[in-house]
Symmetry: C2
Subunit: 425 residues, 2 copies
């Protein structure tokens, strides 16, 4: 058996942490009324390719025994937005709108493996879609929710950065630029390749030096609300779409600021996002104290992705790259892992003859929702306690031969009398 590159498979203690993070994310989503969804992992290739993703990134799926002359038309999904859009299209008659859903699943991309980039990874998405119109307040709702989700996780502080595609496009149109998509793609690389290189590429693509400088200048504007966004006017650029974008971004920020912690959600005017389907709000994130780590939470608004039926179904949603987040946290030692077992209590066995007594204690504790595991060994106490320590279980339970019980906390080293029908953690 051999390992394969590009797949995140964590060690037992990291697995427990991954599960805790997923549980925390889910809990926040459900507190906000987002409903669970699991879609199939396999989509028709045409549905995957339709969304502008290059085929290089897609994994095809085919039965081994199938006629090899018949190419398969199945592929593994590369994100959770495209399957969600397909699910909504297929079930629109049975869904109550606005439909808030979250989805925590694996996705696959044929990427070259590198730090934080996997071929199979877990994403945690939450989106809201509506039949007809989807008010801009939903953009604020999901951004606020993710901001709160991220701050609830036991990871370093993460800031959410918001931009608007209309703002960028309007600004470029106002500058007289025609190749909007090309410029978007170059500017999007700014955090990676730096100002000078972006300026060079922009001019290479046909922009004047002045146009290029304005494009870069725009990304430097800092703003946390609609008032501060007014600074964009200093460039003297004017276009209806720019005005619309500024208004939308300002409204989203102002709505978020009503409830968000100050500074946790701000404008990030360099953000464009890779996927073609975004039409307005676009979002990325950054670790406040670890700028070298890329975005672990991103997404935006897509007004035209779900296009079947008579009415449009616009949507907005974000996604946390769980595997990516964990990879950085483990790599940079940003979180602590210290247990291999979810059990809260480790029950000592006095002798094999008395094993059932220990099993009865376990049953009593579990009845009271306390996680317990019985020692595999009936060796000397010291050896059994060692096993509990290695598993990272905090409490060791001793059923005494006279029917009394004691429990020792391995953290505080305190040992007290206890009753399995009433003892509290």
């Amino acid at each position: 058996m051999a390992s394969i590159k590009g797949f995140a498979e964590w060690l037992p203690e990291q697995q427990i942490l991954q599960q805790e993070i997923i549980d925390n994310i889910r809990h926040s989503f459900e507190l906000n009324g987002y409903a669970p969804l699991l879609t199939r992992s396999i989509e028709l290739l045409e549905d995957l390719l339709n969304q502008g993703e290059t085929d290089k990134e897609i994994y095809g799926v085919q039965r081994l025994s199938a006629d090899s002359d018949t190419p398969s038309d199945w592929g593994l999904h590369y994100d959770l937005t495209v399957p969600f859009a397909r699910y909504v299209s297929e079930n629109r008659g049975k869904i109550v709108f606005p439909y808030r859903r979250y989805q925590i699943q694996q996705a696959w991309r044929g990427e070259r493996p590198q730090m934080g980039r996997f071929r199979e990874f877990i994403q945690a998405d939450a989106d809201v879609v509506n039949e007809g119109d989807l008010d801009l307040r939903f953009d604020a709702e999901v951004i606020l929710m993710f901001s709160q989700v991220l701050s609830s996780l036991s990871v370093p502080k993460i800031k959410i950065l918001v931009n608007n595609r209309k703002l960028l496009e309007g600004f470029y149109l106002g500058l007289g630029i025609e190749n909007i998509v090309g410029v978007l793609r170059i500017v999007d690389k700014l955090p990676k390749i730096g100002e000078e290189e972006v300026a060079r590429l922009l001019q290479e693509s046909g922009l004047s030096s002045q146009q290029a400088q304005n494009c870069i200048g725009l990304t430097k504007i800092e703003a946390k609300d609609s008032a501060e966004l007014k600074n964009i006017s200093k460039f003297g650029v004017s276009h209806d779409m720019l005005d619309l974008g500024v208004r939308e971004l300002g409204e989203v920020l102002d709505r978020v600021n009503l409830f968000a912690e100050s500074g946790s959600v701000v404008a990030g005017l360099h953000i464009a996002r890779g996927f073609d389907y975004y039409t307005g709000t676009v979002v990325e994130s950054a670790f406040v104290d670890h700028p070298e780590v890329g975005s672990v939470c991103s997404g935006g608004r897509y007004d035209n992705l779900i296009s079947t039926g008579s009415k449009p179904i616009p949507g907005v949603g974000l996604s946390i790259g769980v595997s990516r987040l964990l990879a950085y946290c483990f790599h940079l030692d940003l979180i602590e892992t210290n247990r291999q077992s979810p059990a809260q209590v480790f029950i000592v066995v006095n002798s094999e003859e008395e094993r059932t007594d220990s099993e009865k204690v376990a049953a009593l504790l579990r009845d009271r929702d306390i996680s317990a595991v019985v020692s595999d060994s009936s060796a000397a106490y010291g050896k059994q306690i060692k096993l509990a320590e290695r598993l990272g279980i905090e409490n060791v339970w001793f059923p005494n031969s006279d029917g009394s019980h004691e429990v020792k906390n391995l953290e505080t080293r305190e040992q007290i009398k206890a009753d399995p029908t009433s003892w509290l953690l």
Copy 2:
């Protein structure tokens, strides 16, 4: 966009139920000290094919852009036992043994779609493995745990049936049968094709009429403990391996009976299980009142699956077919689905100007761990209540203009004064 056959993709209200069932299963696993594990979905084909699975059932995975002359050596896993075995092999130096883990993930098989059989399905596995020996009490531990897990779910009563490969093999050897595997495979079909057909196939495979009748007779023995298993002696068959199998099965049943509800775990001497890697205990399940539904929980002991390293790592574990269980429950109307939203409270909006007041109520409730969603509409109360009903949200909250609040329970129709900082569900 088109749908694909053989994939379970539930409607929003069914998705909530699926999530509840997965959460209940997980909770029971963790109460018993089983740790979470997620392995990659993709394995090397050689590791998948090694385990005796026919290649017809395996899906290969290949990058679309890859050179089509290079066949891929990747496949999607068809169960969670083989990936678990590989994970333990790879990480044995970092794992604390005995290692109890649970794993709830999708798996894929190239099956012809039919009721309860999907090409992609969710399984919920729990196994325990140990370096060196794995005492028979672990077989009892996992069986007892799954019995309790199944009875904790809001599905009709399910009985667990236990057998032992050594008992079957020893019985056949004692009868002078040589083609053990062939006979196992035929007997395993008994619930599907009936006695007469099994007898015919057995004789066709070379057994005498008397041998065939004994093979069928054995499957009819009913036993809930070691005492009742003694009835096997009436066949006058004698073999050391038979004795060993009877002893093992008896010990497992007796240990389980110490804690299990009477009749919830019994011997099922017709059970052989398809996978080759089982070496002792084998398990299946049956709905007590729906015998037409096949097994939704099965597994067994595998002493030789994990074979790298100097010491063997025997294991025992079971698996609940979550998708299969849900498919039958939905199809036979065995469970009720009635909500599309996980929210507990739906907050009415008096007017768009007062929307922030409603959002503040939602924030206060969420701070107190109560799931809340704000109405998208600010239309007449009747319309908003209708939306809450369609989402299946039980409580409707009215923020009054004078700063007081009322909440109506749509089930009881009771409406009371309430304070968002103290109201309890």
